[in-house]
Symmetry: C2
Subunit: 490 residues, 2 copies
Amino acid sequence: MAKDFPTRQENYAQWYNDLVIKADLAENSAVRGCMVIKPHGYAIWEKMQAQLDKMFKATGHQNAYFPLFIPKSFFSKEADHVEGFAKECAVVTHYRLKNSDDGKGVVVDEDAKLEEELIIRPTSETIIWDTYRNWIQSYRDLPLLINQWANVVRWEMRTRLFLRTTEFLWQEGHTAHETKEEAIEETLKILDIYAEFAEKWMALPVHKGLKSANEKFAGAVDTYCIEALMQDGKALQAGTSHFLGQNFARAFDVKFLNKENKLEYVWATSWGVSTRLMGALIMAHSDDHGLVLPPKLAPIQVAIVPIYKNSDQLAAISQKANAIKEALEAKGISVKYDDRTIFKPGWKFSEYEFKGVPVRLAIGPRDLENGTVEVARRDTLEKETYQLTDIENKIMHLLDHIQDNLYRKALAFREENTFKVDTWDDFKEQIEKGGFVLAHWDGTTDTELQIKEETKATIRTIPLNNKKEAGKCIFSGEPSQQRVIFAKAY
Amino acid sequence: MAKDFPTRQENYAQWYNDLVIKADLAENSAVRGCMVIKPHGYAIWEKMQAQLDKMFKATGHQNAYFPLFIPKSFFSKEADHVEGFAKECAVVTHYRLKNSDDGKGVVVDEDAKLEEELIIRPTSETIIWDTYRNWIQSYRDLPLLINQWANVVRWEMRTRLFLRTTEFLWQEGHTAHETKEEAIEETLKILDIYAEFAEKWMALPVHKGLKSANEKFAGAVDTYCIEALMQDGKALQAGTSHFLGQNFARAFDVKFLNKENKLEYVWATSWGVSTRLMGALIMAHSDDHGLVLPPKLAPIQVAIVPIYKNSDQLAAISQKANAIKEALEAKGISVKYDDRTIFKPGWKFSEYEFKGVPVRLAIGPRDLENGTVEVARRDTLEKETYQLTDIENKIMHLLDHIQDNLYRKALAFREENTFKVDTWDDFKEQIEKGGFVLAHWDGTTDTELQIKEETKATIRTIPLNNKKEAGKCIFSGEPSQQRVIFAKAY
């Protein structure tokens, strides 16, 4: 299975796009900007969902489901929110088709026009806060900790598979609290969950931090984010957690009787990660040979390929291979034994390598005699012969080791591509080359926008627990107390 | 917690609606016909999803995700399909909002009109078969066994929570096969899975059968279904599995090179169950005291309530209760220990009864002395005192027993409400009273429609493996070879 596609060096954007398509992760659909998530891609997304869902539930959140549609009038209720989303809304105006007069198809039935247009949710704060008004009367109803797994639509002009699509899948948490402090605590708790998921499951090091006023969510008081660096030196925002203050409670009149028996507006958060994480995962670890997946998110962790010349050999090898498979599965490892006879071993090796299976085992007649197996690692492409004794623990250990190795490699890459700069010329030069650029900034939106205008770089995040140091803004020369992270971004 | 709602006898429709809302399963949203699925309802749906997904995967199916939107032109390609769905389609016509001239809100931006309107999927055959054209070239690409968990929209004029809503959640399987026989086999395999799920997990007896031509899916050659009887004597279609023949392959030009190297159209199936199953589950078992859930689908299977007079007693009881909880959880039983001090035991009893928790344990000071616990069953409302020895196995056994009991009760109800009739007068009388009515039918759509016109009854299904017996159609008097099942239906 030859997978003809450019190297990262030759054309990074094309490498990514080809990889997504040829590794059967996703493809463009007949609907502009919308993707089809193929089974191999969806299986990875399901593993992400399962882990995140577990982490949300372990911290007291429950799932629910709110309508796909949002009445247009709801949208105008929070001024910043509508300003941020109005330009990318898909609008339902009619509810019926009819046969066309020429009999050649169907047309929209103008008699079935909606009195009020419905927006396909780009995010659900408005419909959810309209609902919460009836769910919350007293402090006894709080906190309300709800998450939803759903599809959302944001009309995008330029789309890229997983990274930016018109429809995407995500989870959106929407919580309601008695106090400001409790809401901020929730915002940060979720940020920690996102960072832990990125680092421990995706093997992707992230910076936790605050967005600048210009980059925050439309309707938020503060937006926190996790920010990662891709192999082409561009940043990727991998998740956001918003402290919404009382903005949506005011817009939708959601008040509660507090413990002092006084009516007060509810405090809110919202937070989400999406199928964009798939783009981050693919770009973070993959190489010119294809996909590289961290073991914890790989749908198949170990593939076993028999090497044989005749059916007797295959039968003997299969017996051993199935025993290994069972032993590994008993340890919770997902295994595929590929005894298909229509493909040659070389084709299978190439297939599993390309699709990112972390460990491949090959067993031939000599292995049977010697009680051995050939073990190939996807991350380093190294091969080694293992004795079969205690193979399940050896493989478990190897999978853990690969997971760690991917993280350490990504971390080393990030460190190598993080630069402190102190002059405007150095800044422009480094931004052009790529990477995270740590520089002083005067804290104004005006400066941020001018820097963006001139270099296309944005402030990715103001890291939490940032070291304070006096300096001068690289653009305006005004005093600054800390460096922030600039980069060009996806 | 007093739950004021009518009995089934007083007003079945109101009983159902109030139960859904007051048991926190779902509620109507601000968007006409769309529901909000609340956490308790969604938790049951998640249990359904998990089991069905497991069954689909165990039979070789993979999940994927296709776009929410379907270009209008795709809809016209299969004539029966568009005929069936055109009248209930939500249509997206624009992709942007703008500020209104009066500055008081947003309006649709007429400059952002789509060249071709997009339909919100009412079902995904068209977009999926358009995609399959590129996925299928040869018999080696077959079978293609794909399932999708998604939301769909069908514009309904009369809606009822879970049973018929404009937006609903479902799974839709779409498979492609080399031969007609293999596609029919798949259709029936899925029907068996649906029936097994209904009977073993939902404790709901169903008839497996074929739909009449008039009731089949728009675009199918044959529609198979599982059909259940609700407590008010009305039928509910709980799942359908369609043999699509080559209809969609022809409409979307999906051909494959067969083993003889000849181009041939692909054979297809599609099949689905939806959040409508929630309606079936609620109506099948619940009573005038509230929800009754089969243990296999109950989010909480056992609730433990402490009975105490002071904090010392509570501490002692909590120690014992937590030990029981751990022992039950080690057996895979989901348990809630409710030691909230703001609610009295009576309130908690009523809450768990109303919300359908299968088993409730109560522990008081005397139980501590005696090494006992009070065990209350939701299905029979019986209470009994158990010795704590080996409590985990006793409770496991009890949960199994409750699951069986609910099934047997529902089966007995169905048998009692199934009637053979042989004259038109008896037919009309029995249909009016309710239940499944087994009657001879001459096999024509014309007769079926006239019967529906006069009695509102439809042919629910022609049972598989139906006993052949000569008879005369109750309506036309024409000869018939078998009885079919008539009923009024949801």
